[in-house]
Symmetry: C2
Subunit: 240 residues, 2 copies
């Protein structure tokens, strides 16, 4: 309110959702399902509920299970995940155009209605994002590779750097470890809600890393160059 | 010359160094020693020669061995390594203030003169860098951890990301893999000239990564949070 970012604010869920057309739950992933279910008991029948959680399968499963006994056409939830943000937290770190030009994933299932999915897509598109539809499991498998594994790697790299070497870090180390500065509890929950796909992504990473290690150990110049070229071509496909 | 970056240019080493007071050799690491030795036969007796190579021990060893039979007081070389740059190459990627606020390592040995070391330090300081004196081996051990290992990790991460997942990459993946776009042959040479320290740094990284894997496999919430906190605190020590 002080910053002029919102017109109204409340810390009471019931009061916050009562008049809403669209409810976007942005809690840490382990709390999302409970907050969605709670919100659904206080909001209008026509309200649509979505979220911004980094993992989808466990959340979607828990919410849809809770709605199983109700009229399935009244299931108000559509999972969402805007692929934007930084290692910072809090409204001081807010960025007005955070979602411009980014991808927002929307995860319809057999239980969602097309009208609700379209409303959530329009919300993200109105903020400048491109939307992608994916199944919750398909989403989790992909972000394990593009988001969760990189975070794990960045954390390991930062933790493995001896303190007395820090004066010799430059932009390479700073870029590679940047996301390791992310909120610990937030990320612990993300990893825990996506352990299987993250472990699978880690195994594939370790296979590539082992080939790089072999190239170094055996001084295999050709293999090392081939592996570096593979990484470069995958990275070059995306630009800065 | 076209860009106004230099006043004179030549592709002939002998002509380029003949009148120089300070010679900065910026070849790929495997060529530096040969170019320094070559330059020393064409330059003034009073000229000082330094380099900008990412590894130091092999280069310094080769150069000092070549000067062993000459008057040791005439050894004109002092190793250097400015910790600045990007994944880009070529004069189109030039940045006028690239060295401002950065660290430049200078590697004196028993064979360098204090006057020459000071001259190289003053050169980097005149470009805005803070200079650090380290032994060549000490330098290589440290940059294996702060520069070469991060590059190896970034390459492995980029190569391990399936192409069909690239649309789901966001700033985390982009930051973590940025240096993987670096020149392949340049980096192949850097790794080859610093294989031992890089393999040691890799082993330590793999130890930390294995602990993270265990925390995920065993769903050890406390251990995972502790490891993430360790990475965060090391990263937070440096800012963005």
């Amino acid at each position: 309110l002080q910053h002029g970012c919102v017109q109204e604010a409340t810390t009471e869920l019931a009061a916050g959702v009562r008049e809403a057309d669209l409810i976007v739950v942005c809690s840490p992933v382990e709390r999302i399902a409970a907050h969605v279910i709670d919100a659904s008991t206080h909001c209008r029948d026509t309200a649509v509920i979505t979220d911004a959680g980094s993992t989808k399968a466990a959340t979607v499963r828990a919410i849809e299970a809770a709605f199983k006994t109700r009229d399935p056409k009244k299931m108000p939830f559509v999972g969402g995940h805007p692929l934007a943000g930084s290692e910072q937290a809090g409204c001081q770190a807010a960025v007005a155009n955070l979602f411009e030009g980014r991808v927002a994933v929307v995860t319809p299932t057999a239980n969602t209605t097309e009208a609700n999915v379209a409303m959530v897509e329009q919300f993200w598109q109105s903020l400048g994002s491109r939307t992608l539809r994916m199944g919750p499991e398909e989403h989790d498998t992909a972000v394990a590779r593009t988001s969760h594994l990189p975070h794990l790697i960045a954390s390991a790299l930062a933790a493995a750097t001896p303190e007395d070497c820090l004066p010799l870090t430059a932009s390479g180390w700073l870029d590679t470890t940047r996301i390791a500065a992310g909120d610990v509890e937030l990320w612990r929950q993300i990893f825990f809600s996506n352990r299987g796909p993250t472990l699978k992504a880690l195994a594939d990473f370790e296979t590539v890393l082992a080939r790089l290690r072999t190239a170094l150990e055996t001084a295999d110049s050709k293999l090392l160059a081939a592996l570096l070229a593979e990484g470069k071509s995958r990275r070059d496909a995306l630009g800065s």
